[in-house]
């Protein structure tokens, strides 16, 4: 579904490589989490998938990127946007209307979705994100987290084959963040949507993603199954990435010779681990 071959990119006017020889292959229906310190190239990677790099954010591009059969260099950003649904960190920069409902309608109408299907899609997106009550509100009257939910709803309504979220839950309350990730899992299950999310909340990534990519200085530093990646908390810390607390607990119990199993990735697994040790 996504294939990056030796992709390197430097922004116009900068000698530094924002991406440095990135090779990546993501299968349809994979749920991939991307994490890493500021300046690691995470956003540039997401912009590459949507064609924003190098078509809008210009610079020197090397290598080849292909998303759902589209070459990102020869395709336009408009073509890419039908396949890749993006939500960025700063959602206000991607709003094109002033009202909640219009914002969700806008893309549906522009992507020539059949007329009778549009209201159903809007209703579904609003209810999926629990924001049906915000339907007729103006975007400027919403809180940061509510705006983020509207941007997410607009992306989900299009049901693209790839969803690329760049720290799109940063301002959401914890339960809403979990809800969004659960929704992504469901889309992957039901429609085989390919999901790639940049996220600093390692607890969410470990609980929902099946693969973790850790970026550092424009390169892919680690790429592997979540659980396997969490088995090396020391290496993650070196890269400025923290482990979920349940994983840290497992490491401490391992140090004490009390636990030999794989690190838990959520609370339920941590409880099973602890009860297995307790008398």
């Amino acid at each position: 579904m996504i294939e990056l071959r030796n992709v390197s990119f430097s922004y116009e006017g900068s000698a530094d490589r924002a991406l440095d020889d990135v090779c990546l292959s993501i299968a349809p229906g994979e749920f991939v989490g991307v994490i890493g310190p500021a300046g690691a190239g995470k956003t540039t990677l997401m912009h590459t998938l949507s064609g924003i790099v190098p078509h809008v954010r210009r610079g020197e591009f090397f290598g080849a990127a292909n998303v759902a059969g589209l070459d990102t260099i020869t395709s336009t950003v408009a073509e890419m946007s039908k396949t890749v649904g993006c939500v960025f960190q700063d959602v206000e920069s991607q709003f094109v209307t002033t009202m909640v409902e219009d914002e969700i309608l806008f893309a549906l109408e522009n992507f020539s979705i059949p007329r009778d299907e549009i209201p159903k899609r809007v209703d579904r997106a609003l209810s999926d994100l629990d924001i049906a009550d915000l339907r007729s509100r103006s975007l400027s009257s919403l809180s940061g987290g509510q705006k983020q939910k509207v941007a997410l709803a607009a992306a989900l309504a299009l049901s693209p084959s790839v969803l690329a979220f760049d720290e799109a839950t940063g301002e959401l309350d914890p339960a809403s963040s979990v809800q969004v990730f659960a929704l992504l899992s469901q889309l992957r299950r039901e429609r085989n949507t390919t999901i790639i999310v940049v996220e600093q909340k390692i607890m969410l990534l470990s609980a929902f993603a099946d693969r973790l990519i850790v970026m550092d200085q424009g390169r892919v530093a680690i790429d592997g199954p979540v659980r396997q990646t969490l088995e090396r908390p020391g290496r993650l810390l070196e890269l400025g990435v923290n482990c979920p607390r349940v994983t840290t607990l497992a490491a401490r119990l391992r140090d004490k010779g009390l636990y030999q199993g794989a690190p838990p990735i959520n609370l339920d697994e941590a409880e099973v681990m602890a009860r297995g040790i307790l008398r």
Binding site: G36, P37, A38, G39, Q89, L142, S143, G144, G145, Q146, Q148, K149, E167, G170, E171, L172, D173, P174, A175, S176, S177, V178, Q200, I202, M203, G240, V241, N242, P244, R245, V246, T248, L249, R252, L253, D255, K256, L258, L267, A270, E271, A274, R275, I277, L278, R279
Partner: protein
């Protein structure tokens, strides 16, 4: 304890929306308080009310004993620092030094004293004065914004999700510096956060706001066990608190990975106690 902030039955409405509904609370000098709640609960509105940027529709807010209704925002800004969620809304200097120096003149700080304060703050927050704020990462810009508040020596810091968008390293750095300011200069901190791990690690007390109402207020580790309030406010407790609760530990008995690992070791099958009993 001396009172820093007091809200008495404060409500705030805009058009027909009631954003804050009868909130009463008190924060004492030197406290570090976390404020959590669902999206749209009214957290940022509450901070803006305390800062005096908006005035209550009902009730009264006292900052060090004086009502925000009777003070200009510019007067309040001498003692209250407000860190926005997005640092770019409050940075405009060409260099970090300029950013920090700006504003001190208006406060009537002498040149010598100003220079001393700027240098102290640069050192405390480990910032290079000649760098342009625009050339920095978001985490660094957030720290410059914090520095530009701190140089004015506020007695109260209002922080609106200071760690959003920061990576783990930036987040720890930022929070450790806020904690140091709180500990060493006694500045009172009221911080909005969605990150329950951050709330647990840094705040002694936590308030929960839901649909404009204050629904919980107490020791952070106890409030995090209040499942009803947490669910109402769309919050998820810190992992170790939740696990300790599931394992039947008392609040505060072990709330972090280190102490929980110790507790599990003490109560493990075949552990020291088992040996004594057999």
């Amino acid at each position: 304890m001396t009172e820093m902030v007091r809200l008495s039955n404060v409500s705030y409405s805009i058009e027909s929306h009631v954003l804050i509904n009868g909130v009463s609370l008190r924060v004492d000098k030197g406290e570090f308080v976390a404020l959590a709640g669902e999206n749209g609960a009214g957290k940022s509105t509450l901070l803006k009310l305390i800062m005096g940027l908006i005035k209550p529709s009902d009730g009264d807010i006292l900052i060090e004993g004086t009502s925000t209704r009777r003070q200009k925002v510019s007067t309040l800004a001498r003692s209250v620092g407000y860190l926005f969620q997005n640092p770019d809304r409050q940075l405009f200097g060409a260099t970090i030094r300029q950013e920090l120096t700006f504003g001190l003149d208006f406060l009537g700080v002498s040149k010598d004293d100003g220079e001393r304060r700027v240098n102290e703050t640069l050192e405390l927050l480990n910032l290079n004065p000649d760098r342009a704020p625009t050339s920095l990462s978001r985490g660094e810009r957030q720290r410059v914004a914090l520095a530009s508040l701190f140089v004015r020596r506020p007695t109260l810091l209002l922080l609106d999700e200071p760690t959003t968008g920061l990576d783990y390293r930036e987040c720890s750095q930022m929070m450790n510096q806020v904690a140091a300011l709180n500990r060493e200069s006694g500045v009172t901190v009221l911080m909005i956060t969605h990150d329950m791990e951050v709330a647990l690690d840094f705040s002694e007390r936590m308030m929960v706001l839901s649909e404009g109402k204050l629904i919980a207020d107490g020791a952070t580790r106890s409030v995090m066990r209040d499942e009803t309030s947490l669910r109402r406010a769309s919050l998820v407790p810190a992992q170790m608190v939740a696990l300790a609760q599931r394992l039947g530990l008392a609040p505060g008995e072990a709330d972090d990975a280190e102490s929980l690992a110790d507790w599990i070791a003490d109560n493990a099958r075949g552990g020291a106690d088992d040996a004594r009993h057999s």
